[in-house]
Symmetry: C2
Subunit: 220 residues, 2 copies
DNA sequence: TAATATTTTTAGATTTGTCTAAATTTTATT
DNA sequence: AATAAAATTTAGACAAATCTAAAAATATTA
Protein backbone atom coordinates (compact mmCIF):
# COMPACT_ATOMS: atom_id res chain seq x y z
CA UNK A 1 0.00 0.00 0.00
CA UNK A 2 1.21 3.48 -0.75
CA UNK A 3 0.30 6.77 0.86
CA UNK A 4 0.17 10.43 -0.03
CA UNK A 5 2.54 12.86 1.63
CA UNK A 6 -0.33 14.19 3.67
CA UNK A 7 -1.40 10.73 4.81
CA UNK A 8 2.16 9.91 5.80
CA UNK A 9 2.43 13.09 7.84
CA UNK A 10 -0.74 12.28 9.72
CA UNK A 11 0.34 8.68 10.30
CA UNK A 12 3.67 9.83 11.68
CA UNK A 13 2.10 12.36 14.01
CA UNK A 14 -0.47 9.88 15.30
CA UNK A 15 2.34 7.43 15.95
CA UNK A 16 4.29 9.95 18.01
CA UNK A 17 1.24 10.99 20.00
CA UNK A 18 0.08 7.48 20.75
CA UNK A 19 3.54 6.60 22.08
CA UNK A 20 2.82 9.16 24.80
CA UNK A 21 -0.86 8.76 25.47
CA UNK A 22 -2.12 5.47 24.06
CA UNK A 23 -5.31 6.87 22.59
CA UNK A 24 -5.06 10.08 20.58
CA UNK A 25 -7.71 12.78 20.35
CA UNK A 26 -8.63 15.07 17.49
CA UNK A 27 -7.56 18.36 19.03
CA UNK A 28 -4.11 17.23 20.06
CA UNK A 29 -3.45 15.86 16.59
CA UNK A 30 -4.68 19.12 15.10
CA UNK A 31 -2.27 21.01 17.34
CA UNK A 32 0.63 18.68 16.45
CA UNK A 33 -0.09 19.04 12.72
CA UNK A 34 -0.77 22.77 12.95
CA UNK A 35 -4.15 22.39 11.28
CA UNK A 36 -7.84 22.43 12.21
CA UNK A 37 -9.80 19.76 13.98
CA UNK A 38 -12.13 19.47 10.99
CA UNK A 39 -9.21 18.64 8.72
CA UNK A 40 -8.12 15.96 11.14
CA UNK A 41 -11.55 14.38 11.11
CA UNK A 42 -11.49 14.34 7.32
CA UNK A 43 -8.15 12.55 7.26
CA UNK A 44 -9.17 10.11 10.00
CA UNK A 45 -11.97 8.90 7.77
CA UNK A 46 -9.51 8.25 4.97
CA UNK A 47 -7.08 6.42 7.22
CA UNK A 48 -9.90 4.33 8.62
CA UNK A 49 -11.01 3.43 5.09
CA UNK A 50 -7.43 2.36 4.40
CA UNK A 51 -7.61 0.17 7.54
CA UNK A 52 -4.75 1.83 9.35
CA UNK A 53 -6.73 3.13 12.28
CA UNK A 54 -8.87 2.09 15.20
CA UNK A 55 -11.33 4.94 15.17
CA UNK A 56 -14.81 5.41 16.62
CA UNK A 57 -16.43 8.79 16.19
CA UNK A 58 -15.99 10.99 19.28
CA UNK A 59 -14.04 8.24 21.05
CA UNK A 60 -10.38 8.84 20.16
CA UNK A 61 -8.20 6.75 17.87
CA UNK A 62 -4.89 4.98 17.38
CA UNK A 63 -2.95 3.20 14.67
CA UNK A 64 -3.48 -0.54 14.30
CA UNK A 65 -0.64 -2.87 13.34
CA UNK A 66 -0.76 -1.89 9.67
CA UNK A 67 -0.75 1.76 10.68
CA UNK A 68 2.20 1.32 12.99
CA UNK A 69 4.11 -0.47 10.27
CA UNK A 70 3.45 2.43 7.90
CA UNK A 71 4.53 4.93 10.57
CA UNK A 72 7.77 3.09 11.26
CA UNK A 73 8.64 3.11 7.58
CA UNK A 74 8.33 6.87 7.49
CA UNK A 75 10.27 7.25 10.74
CA UNK A 76 12.98 5.01 9.31
CA UNK A 77 13.26 7.11 6.19
CA UNK A 78 13.27 10.36 8.14
CA UNK A 79 16.04 9.27 10.47
CA UNK A 80 18.20 7.74 7.76
CA UNK A 81 18.01 11.01 5.82
CA UNK A 82 18.85 12.99 8.96
CA UNK A 83 21.86 10.79 9.44
CA UNK A 84 22.90 11.40 5.84
CA UNK A 85 22.48 15.15 6.14
CA UNK A 86 24.58 15.39 9.30
CA UNK A 87 27.21 12.73 8.67
CA UNK A 88 27.74 13.18 4.94
CA UNK A 89 26.62 16.71 4.13
CA UNK A 90 27.85 18.13 7.46
CA UNK A 91 24.67 19.94 8.39
CA UNK A 92 24.27 21.01 11.99
CA UNK A 93 21.74 18.68 13.62
CA UNK A 94 19.23 21.46 14.27
CA UNK A 95 18.98 22.26 10.55
CA UNK A 96 18.10 18.83 9.21
CA UNK A 97 14.59 18.22 10.45
CA UNK A 98 12.65 20.18 7.87
CA UNK A 99 14.67 18.87 4.94
CA UNK A 100 14.23 15.30 6.17
CA UNK A 101 10.49 16.03 6.37
CA UNK A 102 10.56 16.33 2.58
CA UNK A 103 13.00 13.53 1.84
CA UNK A 104 11.08 11.03 3.96
CA UNK A 105 8.17 10.99 1.50
CA UNK A 106 10.18 9.77 -1.44
CA UNK A 107 8.95 6.28 -2.05
CA UNK A 108 11.61 3.93 -3.32
CA UNK A 109 12.42 0.87 -1.26
CA UNK A 110 15.57 0.41 -3.30
CA UNK A 111 16.66 3.96 -2.51
CA UNK A 112 16.28 3.50 1.22
CA UNK A 113 17.93 0.12 1.15
CA UNK A 114 20.97 1.54 -0.65
CA UNK A 115 21.05 4.65 1.49
CA UNK A 116 21.01 2.49 4.61
CA UNK A 117 23.99 0.48 3.34
CA UNK A 118 25.83 3.60 2.19
CA UNK A 119 25.49 5.03 5.69
CA UNK A 120 26.70 1.81 7.30
CA UNK A 121 23.30 0.66 8.59
CA UNK A 122 23.20 3.11 11.48
CA UNK A 123 21.07 2.29 14.52
CA UNK A 124 20.67 5.83 15.81
CA UNK A 125 20.17 9.17 14.13
CA UNK A 126 22.19 12.32 14.90
CA UNK A 127 19.88 13.16 17.83
CA UNK A 128 20.32 9.68 19.27
CA UNK A 129 16.85 8.55 18.24
CA UNK A 130 16.67 4.92 17.16
CA UNK A 131 16.33 4.09 13.45
CA UNK A 132 13.84 1.27 12.84
CA UNK A 133 15.20 -1.48 10.59
CA UNK A 134 13.41 -2.51 7.39
CA UNK A 135 11.10 -4.78 9.38
CA UNK A 136 10.15 -1.96 11.72
CA UNK A 137 12.26 -3.27 14.57
CA UNK A 138 13.52 -0.49 16.82
CA UNK A 139 16.88 -0.80 18.58
CA UNK A 140 16.47 -0.35 22.31
CA UNK A 141 18.89 1.39 24.57
CA UNK A 142 18.63 1.50 28.33
CA UNK A 143 18.96 5.21 28.79
CA UNK A 144 18.19 7.67 31.57
CA UNK A 145 18.22 11.39 31.90
CA UNK A 146 21.58 12.73 33.05
CA UNK A 147 19.70 14.42 35.88
CA UNK A 148 18.87 10.99 37.37
CA UNK A 149 22.38 9.52 37.30
CA UNK A 150 24.15 8.90 40.64
CA UNK A 151 27.49 10.51 41.36
CA UNK A 152 30.78 9.14 40.05
CA UNK A 153 29.25 6.59 37.66
CA UNK A 154 30.71 7.17 34.20
CA UNK A 155 28.07 7.37 31.46
CA UNK A 156 27.92 7.99 27.72
CA UNK A 157 25.58 10.45 25.99
CA UNK A 158 23.08 8.51 23.88
CA UNK A 159 20.47 11.07 22.87
CA UNK A 160 19.24 14.61 23.34
CA UNK A 161 15.53 15.19 23.61
CA UNK A 162 15.54 18.92 22.96
CA UNK A 163 16.76 19.45 19.43
CA UNK A 164 16.59 23.21 19.11
CA UNK A 165 19.39 25.47 17.89
CA UNK A 166 19.56 26.87 21.42
CA UNK A 167 20.27 23.44 22.89
CA UNK A 168 22.78 22.70 20.15
CA UNK A 169 24.58 25.93 20.97
CA UNK A 170 24.82 24.97 24.65
CA UNK A 171 26.07 21.48 23.96
CA UNK A 172 28.66 22.78 21.52
CA UNK A 173 29.84 25.15 24.22
CA UNK A 174 30.21 22.28 26.71
CA UNK A 175 31.78 20.14 23.99
CA UNK A 176 29.14 17.49 24.56
CA UNK A 177 27.94 15.33 21.66
CA UNK A 178 26.52 11.84 21.20
CA UNK A 179 29.04 9.34 22.54
CA UNK A 180 30.69 11.81 24.92
CA UNK A 181 31.69 10.29 28.25
CA UNK A 182 30.48 12.15 31.33
CA UNK A 183 30.68 11.65 35.08
CA UNK A 184 28.44 13.52 37.51
CA UNK A 185 30.55 14.89 40.37
CA UNK A 186 28.09 16.88 42.42
CA UNK A 187 24.41 17.71 42.59
CA UNK A 188 23.53 21.19 43.81
CA UNK A 189 20.34 21.22 45.84
CA UNK A 190 19.77 24.94 45.30
CA UNK A 191 18.80 24.88 41.62
CA UNK A 192 19.32 21.27 40.64
CA UNK A 193 22.40 22.04 38.58
CA UNK A 194 25.15 19.46 38.23
CA UNK A 195 28.90 19.59 38.33
CA UNK A 196 30.06 17.17 35.66
CA UNK A 197 33.39 15.99 34.31
CA UNK A 198 33.46 15.61 30.54
CA UNK A 199 36.24 13.26 29.44
CA UNK A 200 39.49 15.12 28.67
CA UNK A 201 38.09 18.41 29.94
CA UNK A 202 38.04 20.21 33.25
CA UNK A 203 34.79 19.92 35.20
CA UNK A 204 31.94 22.34 34.62
CA UNK A 205 28.43 23.08 35.79
CA UNK A 206 25.32 22.47 33.75
CA UNK A 207 21.80 23.53 34.60
CA UNK A 208 19.04 21.12 35.58
CA UNK A 209 17.20 22.08 32.40
CA UNK A 210 20.06 20.97 30.21
CA UNK A 211 20.69 17.82 32.25
CA UNK A 212 17.05 16.76 31.97
CA UNK A 213 17.26 16.76 28.17
CA UNK A 214 20.53 14.86 27.91
CA UNK A 215 20.03 11.10 27.94
CA UNK A 216 22.83 8.72 28.77
CA UNK A 217 23.59 5.06 29.37
CA UNK A 218 26.08 3.38 31.66
CA UNK A 219 29.41 2.45 30.15
CA UNK A 220 29.59 -1.31 29.60
CA UNK B 1 10.00 32.69 -6.44
CA UNK B 2 9.05 29.14 -5.61
CA UNK B 3 7.11 26.63 -7.66
CA UNK B 4 4.92 23.60 -7.11
CA UNK B 5 6.14 20.19 -8.18
CA UNK B 6 3.73 20.29 -11.07
CA UNK B 7 4.92 23.70 -12.21
CA UNK B 8 8.52 22.55 -12.06
CA UNK B 9 7.75 19.50 -14.15
CA UNK B 10 6.10 21.62 -16.82
CA UNK B 11 8.95 24.14 -16.79
CA UNK B 12 11.50 21.37 -17.21
CA UNK B 13 9.63 19.76 -20.09
CA UNK B 14 9.14 23.07 -21.89
CA UNK B 15 12.85 23.73 -21.50
CA UNK B 16 13.77 20.40 -23.07
CA UNK B 17 11.34 20.85 -25.95
CA UNK B 18 12.37 24.40 -26.75
CA UNK B 19 16.01 23.31 -26.93
CA UNK B 20 14.93 21.22 -29.90
CA UNK B 21 12.32 23.32 -31.60
CA UNK B 22 12.53 26.91 -30.39
CA UNK B 23 8.79 27.42 -30.03
CA UNK B 24 6.81 24.69 -28.28
CA UNK B 25 3.21 23.74 -29.01
CA UNK B 26 0.50 22.45 -26.72
CA UNK B 27 0.16 18.96 -28.12
CA UNK B 28 3.86 18.12 -28.03
CA UNK B 29 4.09 19.27 -24.43
CA UNK B 30 1.02 17.20 -23.59
CA UNK B 31 2.71 14.18 -25.17
CA UNK B 32 5.97 14.84 -23.30
CA UNK B 33 4.14 15.19 -19.99
CA UNK B 34 1.78 12.29 -20.67
CA UNK B 35 -1.25 14.43 -20.03
CA UNK B 36 -4.05 16.14 -21.99
CA UNK B 37 -3.82 19.28 -24.05
CA UNK B 38 -6.44 20.91 -21.86
CA UNK B 39 -4.28 20.40 -18.78
CA UNK B 40 -1.36 21.98 -20.60
CA UNK B 41 -3.40 25.05 -21.46
CA UNK B 42 -4.41 25.39 -17.80
CA UNK B 43 -0.80 25.29 -16.67
CA UNK B 44 0.37 27.66 -19.39
CA UNK B 45 -1.96 30.28 -18.00
CA UNK B 46 -0.42 29.86 -14.56
CA UNK B 47 3.12 30.04 -15.87
CA UNK B 48 2.29 33.12 -17.88
CA UNK B 49 0.80 34.76 -14.77
CA UNK B 50 4.05 33.97 -12.99
CA UNK B 51 5.90 35.68 -15.87
CA UNK B 52 7.94 32.66 -16.89
CA UNK B 53 6.52 32.27 -20.36
CA UNK B 54 6.15 33.97 -23.71
CA UNK B 55 2.70 32.75 -24.60
CA UNK B 56 0.03 33.95 -27.03
CA UNK B 57 -3.11 31.86 -27.32
CA UNK B 58 -2.97 29.49 -30.32
CA UNK B 59 0.52 30.74 -31.25
CA UNK B 60 2.94 28.46 -29.36
CA UNK B 61 5.11 29.39 -26.38
CA UNK B 62 8.57 29.32 -24.81
CA UNK B 63 10.28 30.12 -21.54
CA UNK B 64 11.59 33.65 -21.07
CA UNK B 65 14.80 34.33 -19.13
CA UNK B 66 13.15 33.86 -15.75
CA UNK B 67 11.63 30.62 -16.97
CA UNK B 68 14.93 29.33 -18.27
CA UNK B 69 16.59 30.16 -14.98
CA UNK B 70 13.92 28.19 -13.14
CA UNK B 71 14.34 25.27 -15.55
CA UNK B 72 18.09 25.18 -15.10
CA UNK B 73 17.72 25.06 -11.35
CA UNK B 74 15.56 21.97 -11.63
CA UNK B 75 17.90 20.39 -14.19
CA UNK B 76 20.82 21.09 -11.86
CA UNK B 77 19.09 19.40 -8.95
CA UNK B 78 18.04 16.44 -11.07
CA UNK B 79 21.51 15.80 -12.40
CA UNK B 80 23.24 16.24 -9.05
CA UNK B 81 20.89 13.69 -7.52
CA UNK B 82 21.50 11.30 -10.41
CA UNK B 83 25.21 11.66 -9.82
CA UNK B 84 24.69 10.91 -6.14
CA UNK B 85 22.55 7.86 -6.85
CA UNK B 86 25.06 6.34 -9.26
CA UNK B 87 28.35 7.37 -7.67
CA UNK B 88 27.49 7.02 -4.00
CA UNK B 89 24.56 4.60 -3.84
CA UNK B 90 25.81 2.48 -6.76
CA UNK B 91 22.58 2.45 -8.72
CA UNK B 92 22.76 1.43 -12.36
CA UNK B 93 22.35 4.55 -14.45
CA UNK B 94 19.09 3.37 -16.02
CA UNK B 95 17.42 3.11 -12.61
CA UNK B 96 18.03 6.61 -11.34
CA UNK B 97 15.84 8.80 -13.50
CA UNK B 98 12.52 8.30 -11.77
CA UNK B 99 13.98 8.65 -8.27
CA UNK B 100 15.76 11.85 -9.30
CA UNK B 101 12.41 13.08 -10.63
CA UNK B 102 11.21 13.10 -7.03
CA UNK B 103 14.39 14.36 -5.39
CA UNK B 104 14.70 17.30 -7.77
CA UNK B 105 11.63 18.98 -6.28
CA UNK B 106 13.02 19.27 -2.79
CA UNK B 107 13.59 22.94 -2.30
CA UNK B 108 16.53 23.74 -0.11
CA UNK B 109 19.34 25.79 -1.58
CA UNK B 110 21.56 24.79 1.31
CA UNK B 111 20.89 21.12 0.60
CA UNK B 112 21.90 21.40 -3.04
CA UNK B 113 24.93 23.49 -2.21
CA UNK B 114 26.16 20.90 0.27
CA UNK B 115 25.29 18.00 -1.99
CA UNK B 116 27.25 19.62 -4.80
CA UNK B 117 30.31 19.97 -2.56
CA UNK B 118 29.92 16.46 -1.18
CA UNK B 119 29.94 15.10 -4.72
CA UNK B 120 33.02 17.14 -5.65
CA UNK B 121 31.19 19.73 -7.77
CA UNK B 122 30.73 17.43 -10.75
CA UNK B 123 30.29 18.96 -14.21
CA UNK B 124 28.55 16.00 -15.85
CA UNK B 125 25.98 13.53 -14.65
CA UNK B 126 26.28 9.73 -15.05
CA UNK B 127 24.86 9.91 -18.58
CA UNK B 128 27.36 12.57 -19.54
CA UNK B 129 24.81 15.36 -19.48
CA UNK B 130 26.16 18.69 -18.23
CA UNK B 131 25.23 19.87 -14.74
CA UNK B 132 24.43 23.60 -14.66
CA UNK B 133 26.23 25.47 -11.90
CA UNK B 134 24.36 27.51 -9.29
CA UNK B 135 24.20 30.47 -11.69
CA UNK B 136 22.70 28.32 -14.43
CA UNK B 137 25.91 28.16 -16.42
CA UNK B 138 26.22 24.93 -18.41
CA UNK B 139 29.62 23.39 -19.05
CA UNK B 140 30.15 22.88 -22.76
CA UNK B 141 31.95 20.00 -24.34
CA UNK B 142 32.80 19.72 -28.00
CA UNK B 143 31.35 16.31 -28.66
CA UNK B 144 30.30 14.34 -31.73
CA UNK B 145 28.56 11.09 -32.32
CA UNK B 146 30.95 8.15 -32.50
CA UNK B 147 29.41 7.38 -35.90
CA UNK B 148 30.92 10.63 -37.28
CA UNK B 149 34.48 10.14 -36.04
CA UNK B 150 37.23 9.51 -38.65
CA UNK B 151 39.37 6.37 -38.46
CA UNK B 152 42.34 6.03 -36.11
CA UNK B 153 41.64 9.21 -34.11
CA UNK B 154 41.51 8.27 -30.40
CA UNK B 155 38.42 9.66 -28.62
CA UNK B 156 36.90 9.52 -25.17
CA UNK B 157 33.24 8.72 -24.41
CA UNK B 158 31.56 11.83 -23.00
CA UNK B 159 27.85 11.01 -23.02
CA UNK B 160 25.23 8.55 -24.11
CA UNK B 161 22.00 9.86 -25.53
CA UNK B 162 19.94 6.68 -25.20
CA UNK B 163 19.63 5.92 -21.52
CA UNK B 164 17.52 2.79 -21.56
CA UNK B 165 18.30 -0.46 -19.74
CA UNK B 166 18.79 -2.04 -23.18
CA UNK B 167 21.51 0.45 -24.07
CA UNK B 168 23.11 0.05 -20.67
CA UNK B 169 23.17 -3.70 -21.16
CA UNK B 170 24.95 -3.31 -24.50
CA UNK B 171 27.53 -0.87 -23.21
CA UNK B 172 28.26 -3.07 -20.22
CA UNK B 173 28.81 -5.93 -22.61
CA UNK B 174 31.30 -3.88 -24.62
CA UNK B 175 32.84 -2.56 -21.40
CA UNK B 176 32.19 1.00 -22.54
CA UNK B 177 31.45 3.70 -19.99
CA UNK B 178 31.89 7.46 -19.70
CA UNK B 179 35.59 8.24 -20.01
CA UNK B 180 36.40 5.08 -21.95
CA UNK B 181 38.99 5.60 -24.72
CA UNK B 182 37.97 4.35 -28.15
CA UNK B 183 39.50 4.34 -31.62
CA UNK B 184 37.47 3.65 -34.74
CA UNK B 185 39.37 1.18 -36.95
CA UNK B 186 36.98 0.51 -39.81
CA UNK B 187 33.64 1.63 -41.14
CA UNK B 188 31.53 -1.05 -42.83
CA UNK B 189 29.51 0.34 -45.71
CA UNK B 190 27.04 -2.54 -45.67
CA UNK B 191 25.16 -1.67 -42.45
CA UNK B 192 27.12 1.28 -41.09
CA UNK B 193 28.60 -0.76 -38.26
CA UNK B 194 32.03 0.11 -36.89
CA UNK B 195 35.05 -1.89 -35.87
CA UNK B 196 36.40 -0.16 -32.78
CA UNK B 197 39.29 -0.67 -30.41
CA UNK B 198 38.43 -0.08 -26.78
CA UNK B 199 41.53 0.66 -24.71
CA UNK B 200 43.03 -2.48 -23.17
CA UNK B 201 40.62 -4.75 -25.05
CA UNK B 202 40.66 -6.57 -28.35
CA UNK B 203 38.74 -4.85 -31.15
CA UNK B 204 35.03 -5.46 -31.65
CA UNK B 205 32.16 -4.44 -33.87
CA UNK B 206 29.32 -2.18 -32.81
CA UNK B 207 26.17 -1.41 -34.77
CA UNK B 208 25.46 1.97 -36.33
CA UNK B 209 22.51 2.35 -33.95
CA UNK B 210 24.75 2.05 -30.91
CA UNK B 211 27.45 4.29 -32.41
CA UNK B 212 24.94 7.05 -33.14
CA UNK B 213 23.99 7.26 -29.48
CA UNK B 214 27.51 7.28 -28.10
CA UNK B 215 29.00 10.77 -27.98
CA UNK B 216 32.72 11.35 -27.75
CA UNK B 217 35.34 14.08 -27.79
CA UNK B 218 38.89 14.07 -29.08
CA UNK B 219 41.60 13.36 -26.57
CA UNK B 220 43.48 16.53 -25.66
C1' DT C 1 -11.23 29.55 -51.24
C1' DA C 2 -14.45 26.64 -49.20
C1' DA C 3 -14.61 22.51 -46.79
C1' DT C 4 -12.26 19.57 -43.78
C1' DA C 5 -8.96 18.31 -40.44
C1' DT C 6 -6.05 19.48 -36.72
C1' DT C 7 -4.80 22.05 -32.84
C1' DT C 8 -5.89 24.63 -29.02
C1' DT C 9 -8.82 26.59 -25.71
C1' DT C 10 -12.98 26.89 -22.79
C1' DA C 11 -16.65 25.10 -19.90
C1' DG C 12 -17.73 22.35 -16.49
C1' DA C 13 -16.73 18.24 -13.52
C1' DT C 14 -13.67 15.51 -10.27
C1' DT C 15 -10.26 14.54 -6.58
C1' DT C 16 -7.40 15.78 -2.68
C1' DG C 17 -6.64 18.41 1.07
C1' DT C 18 -7.83 22.19 3.31
C1' DC C 19 -10.90 25.72 5.57
C1' DT C 20 -15.03 28.21 8.35
C1' DA C 21 -19.21 27.98 10.57
C1' DA C 22 -22.74 25.35 12.44
C1' DA C 23 -24.44 21.18 14.50
C1' DT C 24 -23.73 17.34 17.41
C1' DT C 25 -21.77 14.66 21.06
C1' DT C 26 -19.28 14.24 25.19
C1' DT C 27 -17.54 16.11 29.49
C1' DA C 28 -17.60 19.16 33.37
C1' DT C 29 -19.95 22.07 36.63
C1' DT C 30 -23.29 23.99 39.32
C1' DA D 1 -29.79 16.16 36.51
C1' DA D 2 -29.80 20.37 34.00
C1' DT D 3 -26.89 23.46 31.97
C1' DA D 4 -22.63 25.21 30.35
C1' DA D 5 -18.29 24.26 28.24
C1' DA D 6 -15.33 21.72 25.44
C1' DA D 7 -14.41 18.53 21.90
C1' DT D 8 -15.66 16.58 17.68
C1' DT D 9 -17.98 16.02 13.48
C1' DT D 10 -20.76 17.57 9.50
C1' DA D 11 -22.01 20.70 5.84
C1' DG D 12 -20.58 23.36 2.50
C1' DA D 13 -16.90 26.10 0.26
C1' DC D 14 -12.32 26.77 -1.95
C1' DA D 15 -7.80 26.08 -4.48
C1' DA D 16 -4.79 23.13 -7.22
C1' DA D 17 -4.35 19.94 -10.69
C1' DT D 18 -6.42 17.12 -13.46
C1' DC D 19 -10.03 15.31 -16.79
C1' DT D 20 -13.90 14.96 -20.76
C1' DA D 21 -16.59 17.03 -24.13
C1' DA D 22 -17.54 20.82 -26.83
C1' DA D 23 -16.34 25.16 -28.97
C1' DA D 24 -13.11 28.14 -31.28
C1' DA D 25 -9.07 29.12 -33.93
C1' DT D 26 -5.74 27.75 -37.17
C1' DA D 27 -3.89 24.84 -40.85
C1' DT D 28 -4.49 21.85 -44.78
C1' DT D 29 -6.25 20.45 -49.05
C1' DA D 30 -9.25 19.47 -52.69
Amino acid sequence: MSFTTSEENYIKSIYHLQQETGLVNTNSLAAEMQTRAASVTDMLKKLKTKKLLQYEKYKGFKLNEAGKKAALEVVRKHRLWEFFLVEKLKFDWDKVHSIAEDLEHISSEELIHRLDNFLGNPSFDPHGDPIPDKHGKIPVINQQSLSDIPLKKPVTVSSVSNQTPQMLEMLKHYNIALGTSITVLKHFEFDGSLEVKVLKQSSCIISEQVAKNVFVHYVN
